[in-house]
């Protein structure tokens, strides 16, 4: 068993509700809303306008700079290109497509004649054209990670930890589509030129491990599955690297700094489909669960499906549902409407109707230090909270708040129910704003001084 990382918590995994339910295909939705931002980076520019006819897999959004293209997930007519609610809160320019239920595949989707003959560059190009991003939720463009990591990376890790409670999409994928995972992992080994890819899986998914090992043995693939002790946030990129290699990613760095690259299970499947079929990311497996859902399920649906369609497919919501969360309960975003669509990074849609949160009215820190013991990034949340509360931004920076990845382990462990993660999210933003302001002020000062010096020089010359 792999060595663990420091800290973390062990929440009840709540996976029993869906981990034995096969992935179901959602009945085609009448309308899909595809936001132009489903990746880390600037939003895409829409390539279609209202009235256009689109087919499945047709490119409808082009990225600029860091990003990934976006494709139509159903065939039909573009009804509107307008700002709509999306998962990060607020509105985002979105392409609204009315489904014609014909499911016509776009001509743009071309399977290569012989996938095995593709060069590394061609494979990276296929990944880029397929619009693949980190499907675990971070949504970092995968082609950037691969092309940036080639030559630096010697350890390719597939993230099958799925450490967030409730979510079982990756687990079901391991059971139902192991050949896609192993196939994708094999292509990754080829792209990075490594002879081994490691799949890290928490030991609560033993049948998933067995299922993948069977395929590895059949295909003699350059892949090994490593069982990990259950511990949240095992699926955090830095924690997974630490658990598997024993090395720590330096502050502000990426796994590539220690020779690692980490890909989610479903990202790996998407790579497989892109390389073998030229198929872009148009569908997503979502776990619909939580106390507010009548019949929890794992559902595969087109990207852009409004989440209300998902709940309908699960028998609807119970009375008294007070919270909808896109993503896991530890890091997911609470949503204020069921109009938000499923994005590339949406792994779960949860509804709560019981007292999961257990908030208290006047939380008061008792200095128990359980947050310090829980922080996988070796921070001291209780002190960071005090600095953030009082607006002490310099102290906040010295306490390395920027290392915080908002995993929520501290707040989970806190017996006083302090709003730690919330405070760190706002504190980080304030600190970023201040740094930007300081930088701008310093630049303005420098420019003024230079102008003054130039003026003085000019005068001196004139004299």
């Amino acid at each position: 068993m792999a060595q663990a990382f420091f800290g973390g918590v062990h929440p009840n995994d709540m996976k029993a509700a869906t981990n034995e339910k096969a992935i179901e295909q959602l009945a085609p939705p009448a309308i899909v809303v595809i936001p132009m931002s489903m990746h880390f980076g600037a939003p895409c520019t829409p390539l279609v306008k209202a009235g256009d006819h689109v087919k499945v897999g047709q490119k409808i959004g082009e990225f600029r700079g860091l990003g990934a293209p976006i494709h139509a997930s159903v065939s039909g007519t573009v009804k509107a290109v307008e700002p709509r609610p999306y998962n990060m809160g607020g509105n985002m320019m979105s392409v609204v497509i009315e489904n014609d239920f014909q499911d016509e595949l776009s001509e743009e989707v071309q399977a290569p004649a012989d996938p095995e003959a593709l060069t590394v560059e061609q494979m990276v190009e296929a990944v880029k054209n397929a619009g693949i991003v980190g499907m675990g939720g971070a949504t970092f463009p995968t082609h950037v990670k691969i092309s940036g990591g080639i030559g630096k990376v010697d350890t390719v890790i597939i993230n099958g930890a799925e450490c967030e409670p409730y979510i079982t999409g990756d687990h079901r994928t391991m059971l139902e589509r192991p050949e896609e995972i192993i196939g994708g992992a094999t292509y990754l080994a080829k792209m990075f030129g490594t002879d081994k890819v490691i799949i890290g899986v928490e030991d609560n998914k033993q049948n998933g491990i067995d299922s993948m090992n069977k395929v590895i043995a059949e295909k003699n693939a350059p892949v090994v599955v490593e069982a990990l002790h259950c511990r949240y946030p095992q699926g955090g990129e830095k924690q997974l690297c630490q658990a598997i290699t024993g090395k720590q990613v330096p502050p502000g760095g990426l796994p590539a700094n220690i020779g690692c690259a980490v890909f989610n299970i479903n990202t790996t499947c998407a790579i497989y489909r892109a390389v073998t079929q030229g198929m872009p990311v148009v569908r997503k497996i979502v776990t619909v669960s939580g106390s507010g859902v009548i019949d929890p399920k794992n559902i595969e649906c087109p990207i852009g499906t409004p989440v209300s369609n998902l709940f309908d497919a699960c028998g609807g919501l119970k009375d008294g549902t007070y919270k909808l969360i896109m993503g896991g309960p530890m890091m997911g975003m609470a949503q204020y409407t069921t109009d938000v669509p499923v994005g590339k990074g949406t792994g779960a849609m949860l509804a709560f109707c019981e007292n999961e949160e257990q908030t208290v009215e006047h939380p008061q820190c008792i200095r128990c230090g359980k947050c310090v013991a829980a922080c996988p990034m070796h921070l001291e949340p209780l002190f960071m909270y005090q600095y953030a509360e009082k607006g002490m931004l310099d102290e906040l920076n010295d306490a390395h708040i920027m290392d915080c990845m908002e995993c929520g382990a501290c707040a989970y462990a806190c017996p006083a129910r302090m709003h730690l993660t919330h405070m760190f999210k706002t504190g980080k933003q304030k600190l970023k704003d201040k740094m930007a302001a300081d930088k701008a002020a310093a630049e303005a000062k420098k420019a003024a001084e230079e102008a003054k010096a130039a003026e003085a020089q000019k005068e001196a010359v004139n004299k």
Binding site: P11, G89, P165, K238, Q248, V249, P250, P251, G253, S308, D312, G316, L317, T321, Y322, K323, L324, I325, P329, M330, M331, G332, M333, A334, Q335, Y336, T337, T338, L350, F352, E356, E357, Q358, V360, E361, H362, Q364, C365, I366, R367, C368, G369, V372, H378, L379, E380, L382, D403, E406, A411, Y412, A413, C414, P415, A416, R417, H419, T421, H422, K425
Partner: protein
């Protein structure tokens, strides 16, 4: 089907789930851990011991309630921390302490030491110990007359004038009266058949409570083990009055308030370091001061003051024991320091 438009949704920051442990459940565990020692005290010193503890608890809760009420602050009695303080203050007083006196101690502990600094988590010395120090300074006679449990119990009501008192083993150790000390065997010390403060006498039952707290993950083992370990090593190496090292060590660690202090006082969250490394240093410091006071000080017991002194070092210890930053390897740090 569900009417999605009329859902009453709240949107808050993640995480959306919380662990089962609460401040109240932690305090309840501490109370449970003290029950065996309280039961023993009642059996040993009489029902007065139970009454004194009950009054102290009621006093602490009353003062906390009254202060928060007068200051128009949200009520906090429900977190049960005042109950813990009340029990601990009674535990460190003689069983014969008058009830009115403990209520004054409660006032000092809760209002002066805890609430004036901002309530739970904000006080910088242990409220119960500060309350005891206050009572000891104010009523030295009463606070140092120890009922002899071998001869009599404390009467439930009425004066304590006729009660037979005896010197504690620690006092005998201080004065070197080995003949008088020999009436108590090491086993008596361990089980608690000795005169002393209400809740401190039975080392065995305090260890049971402490182990319960460690098992429940309420406290870490670092503080009590470092504290008791330091006292044990020092007293073993430097026995006094010609006693053997082992014997002197047993009398030293089972006598006085060491077990109560190590498991229940030095582990107080608000007044101890937040990292395990810090707790180890804190425990060693408490042990050093305890032995120094017992050996060189004018008091025969040093647990109370040693913990209070170390409480003042907590901010410094916290500063010096910050966890190593994630991703910064030790050799790199040395290089950075060298530059």
């Amino acid at each position: 089907m569900t009417d999605y438009k009329n859902l009453k949704l709240i949107a808050t920051s993640s995480p959306h789930i919380r662990g089962a442990e609460t401040t109240r459940s932690i305090m309840l565990d501490v109370i449970i851990a003290m029950v065996p020692a309280l039961a023993y005290a009642t059996w040993q010193f009489g029902f007065e011991a139970l009454l004194l503890t009950a009054v102290s608890v009621a006093g602490c809760m009353f003062w906390e309630w009254l202060y928060r009420k007068l200051m128009k602050k949200p009520q906090s009695v429900g977190d049960l921390s005042a109950v813990v303080t009340g029990m601990l203050l009674a535990f460190v007083c003689p069983a014969s302490t008058p009830l009115w006196m403990i209520i004054i101690g409660d006032f000092f502990s809760i209002v002066v030491v805890k609430q004036l600094f901002g309530g739970i988590g904000k006080n910088f010395v242990n409220p119960a110990l500060a309350g005891r120090a206050f009572l000891l300074g104010s009523y030295a006679g009463v606070m140092t007359s120890w009922v002899d449990p071998a001869q009599n119990k404390v009467p439930l009501f009425g004066g304590t004038v006729d009660v037979v008192t005896a010197a504690t083993p620690l006092a005998l150790m201080k004065s070197g009266d080995l003949e008088a000390l020999s009436q108590y065997s090491a086993l008596d010390m361990f089980l608690g058949k000795i005169p002393g403060s209400l809740g401190e006498v039975s080392a065995l039952l305090l260890i049971v409570g402490g182990v319960y707290l460690i098992w429940r993950k309420v406290i870490n083992w670092q503080t009590p083990v470092a504290y008791i370990g330091t006292v044990a090593v020092l007293t073993f190496l430097f026995p006094q009055h010609g006693m053997s090292g082992l014997n002197w060590m047993m009398y030293s660690i089972f006598g006085g308030g060491l077990m109560l202090g190590a498991f229940f006082m030095a582990t107080d969250y608000a007044t101890s370091p937040v990292t395990k490394k810090g707790q180890l240093i804190f425990g060693i410091g408490c042990g050093l001061f305890t032995v120094f006071i017992r050996y060189f000080g004018s008091y025969n017991e040093g647990v109370c003051y040693s913990i209070m002194v170390m409480n003042l070092f907590v901010a410094l210890i916290d500063k010096c024991t910050k966890p190593a930053r994630f991703g910064v390897v030790k050799s790199e740090k040395k290089e950075a320091a060298a530059k």
